[in-house]
Symmetry: C2
Subunit: 199 residues, 2 copies
Amino acid sequence: MARTQGSHSDITGPRIRDAALRLFAQHGYAAVSMRQIAKEVGVQAGALYNYTPDKQSLLHRLMEGHMRELLAAWQVQESSGEAGEDAMAQLERFVRFHISFHMQRPDAVFIAYMELRNLSEENFILIEALRSSYEDALEAVLKRGVDTGRFRIPDTKIATLAVIAMLNGVMTWYRSGGRLSLEEVESVYWDMVRKSVGV
Amino acid sequence: MARTQGSHSDITGPRIRDAALRLFAQHGYAAVSMRQIAKEVGVQAGALYNYTPDKQSLLHRLMEGHMRELLAAWQVQESSGEAGEDAMAQLERFVRFHISFHMQRPDAVFIAYMELRNLSEENFILIEALRSSYEDALEAVLKRGVDTGRFRIPDTKIATLAVIAMLNGVMTWYRSGGRLSLEEVESVYWDMVRKSVGV
DNA sequence: CTTTTTTCTGAACAAATGTTCAGTTAACCT
DNA sequence: AGGTTAACTGAACATTTGTTCAGAAAAAAG
């Protein structure tokens, strides 16, 4: 059965996705026009509407895709640890995973943190829920560490946000090919995180 | 002597400043129109151009003003310490100052961190220089602590950025009237920072 | 090949954008 | 009061915005 005109795929075309990702990250959602995206893809603006119902969905799908990838990747990483791994090892796993994962997708990360206010209210709620469950994953580790006496943390909720904020900071300055390798950066941050939650 | 038509003051009118601050913080620079700002002030759009040469200057002046206030306030705070204050006390002073200062201007902080990419290139360079000298202030404290053996930090540059990123995280969740007072929040963060740079 | 289906063009739409400016209103000064 | 200066209006400007859609082009299917 033919797609009626004006309808669109449920999955955004990869070329369009990539162009939107790059442009949104560079100039911001509001500052990028559909015509700019189209030009990057090598197509007229109208053609985009075969792949997305509107500009807003383009943004939302980028964010949702990113957050779901993040959650899925962490679940893989988490379950790859040996059973009975203690909280300290789990926290190191999280720190290294977080930095590594985010550094591989700087544009998506940037968008996910900067463009929340350009989401419609319903889309905002959806994305926030995904973000929350990622934060919960870290908080669970911290709580376990507190319970087992490995960590001393006055407030696990604040500590969760503080750690994530600290780790996200790496995005603002790290450029591959710099003074430090990604693994060295991971180690420096892990050193600070470990001490900050320590007894 | 009369101002010729179309010229503008060197200082942006406070009403306009405040309206732009609030709107830029809420919706983002690119998403706010001059007409929206005018409406908030209770005036027609054209009247704004008696106070600013263009929209870009409005943004730049907000950011520059904020950064200069920040630097000035820190200099006051820094020099208010007793002479010979050790690095640990200086760091605590910085942490509490940073949180307290930023929490009093959430909108300006938000703009200063989110709208860098909407600055023209020359304005961007100016603002970045101001930000750098603020970071240098913290790094100086960390270096002193390393030299005197109070801190153990593998890389003071990274630690500087990590601490600031961590502290800035408070902006994303703290709302006055919440579970914790501002001073309690300061203490929680200070606890984490202190440990993270500790020996 | 022809027919069917999918994809894209190119023009058009109404609305919104930053900015200018002649002319009106308000404020101030003597 | 009148006269001078400052502030604001309201309309206009050229561009750009997101989005639609009839029809052309291309691709797939027969």
